[in-house]
Amino acid sequence: MKTKTLFYSVIVSAFCLLPSTFGQGVLTPPGAPAAGMKSLAQIEPRTPISAAPFTISAGGSYYLTTNLTVSAGDAITIAADNVTLDLNGFTIRSTAASATGPAFCSMAV
């Protein structure tokens, strides 16, 4: 029994005396941490439309952030190909006495 205890003590002591073998390594960070969070632009990358009249002049994805009201003329003019417009549950309304313009119109580009 004594022999076995002595053996373990020698082994433990040997490990304690070898810090270079089991050290913590280089503690200096390798560089700045990479961005791990999403940006707000990634969370809502579409283009908001919050007022009318509004002209969409470039292809892309658009959405309403509120109800829109015009008192005359067109509300939203689409002047580009490859456009997605999400009304997002809102309403486009004309208050003109005799509304003549469309809620949406497209222009040749």
Partner: protein
């Protein structure tokens, strides 16, 4: 108890993904939900998005994925299933979704996608090419006009609803147990607007200016369709036990309704054919055909199954 930004948008932006050794600009290797955050223009010689995993959703998020001829917008790199693609535009590619060359895709869903494709020359390109179980709804496909190209080339048990296909070589070419409903197919000048096999339902579709209108094989329900201005036949009945009812076939260069080869027990009733150059009806005596009324004026024939021909 505020939500974190990653809880508000837990999906992965596609433009943060790595590529695929020059084959695909972005490569999806794991199941999950992905989305576009901007329009993307892919340089010549590279495909858009490679998919190497099942159970993937790609939301184009209203944006456009643009590319060049002889390349594919979104393609599979392995046999996989349950991929859903929605809400955006694919432009300039020769192929839209290729889920059949490098791996068969099954049970795909495509919704609210507009494709404006480019003639890929002699190669086999499709707006959508895949295996069984395709669901295509509210999509537009145009420009798959090469001599071996298809708007859609798919396997069995597929559903098409409220889609517009135009300016392609073939329209829909699919297998058995297919439903095509409320679709408009125009100027698919190389082949059939719709070609399906057995036990399919073709309902309320408009086919205009294709090489052939529609061809179907056995035990299909074909109702309330219009085939017009084909350079061939309007309705090709190419098998047995079909029910062909309440359709219109007008101004086709060959026949309005024709039994192709030896056919039996097709029920052909209550249709209208007019101005088809080779003849309005060319049906076999082994089929069951309502009487064909050719006279104008007040209808005196009370047979409820009558067809009309002018």
């Amino acid at each position: 108890m505020m939500k974190s930004l990653s809880q508000i948008e837990p999906r992965t932006p596609i433009n943060t993904l790595p590529g695929d050794g020059g084959y695909d600009l972005y490569y999806i290797s794991q199941s999950g939900s992905y989305y576009l955050t901007t329009n993307i223009v892919v340089a010549s010689g590279t495909n858009g998005i490679g998919v190497g995993a099942s159970d993937v959703v790609i939301d184009l998020n209203g944006f456009t994925l643009s590319g060049t001829a002889s390349r594919i917008a979104i393609r599979s790199t392995a046999n996989l299933g349950r991929v859903r693609i929605c809400n955006g535009q694919l432009t300039g590619w020769s192929g839209g979704l290729d889920f059949y060359v490098n791996g068969t895709g099954t049970n795909l869903t495509l919704e609210n996608v507009q494709m404006t494709l480019t003639n890929g020359g002699a190669g086999l390109f499709a707006g959508v090419g895949c295996g069984d179980g395709l669901s295509l709804a509210h999509c537009t496909i145009s420009g798959a006009s090469g001599p071996s190209s298809y708007a859609v080339l798919a396997g069995d048990r597929c559903t098409f609803e409220a889609c517009t296909l135009f300016g392609c070589n073939y329209g829909i070419d699919a297998g058995s147990t297919i439903t095509v409903k409320d679709c408009t197919i125009k100027n698919c000048s190389g082949g059939e607007g719709i070609f399906v096999s057995n036990t399919s339902i073709l309902l309320n579709n408009l086919l205009d200016g294709c090489k052939m209108g529609m061809t179907f094989h056995n035990a299909c329900m074909v109702s309330q369709n219009t085939c017009q201005n084909a350079t061939g036949n309007g309705f090709n009945i190419s098998g047995n036990y079909n029910r062909v009812e309440d359709n219109v076939s007008i101004g086709n260069a060959f026949f309005g309704f024709i039994s192709q080869g030896v056919t039996t027990n097709n029920l052909v009733i209550r249709n209208l054919a007019r101005g088809n150059s080779s003849g309005n009806y060319a049906l076999n005596s082994t089929d069951a055909v309502g009487p064909i009324i050719t006279t104008s004026g007040t209808i005196t024939n009370l047979n409820p199954w009558a067809n009309f021909s002018y």
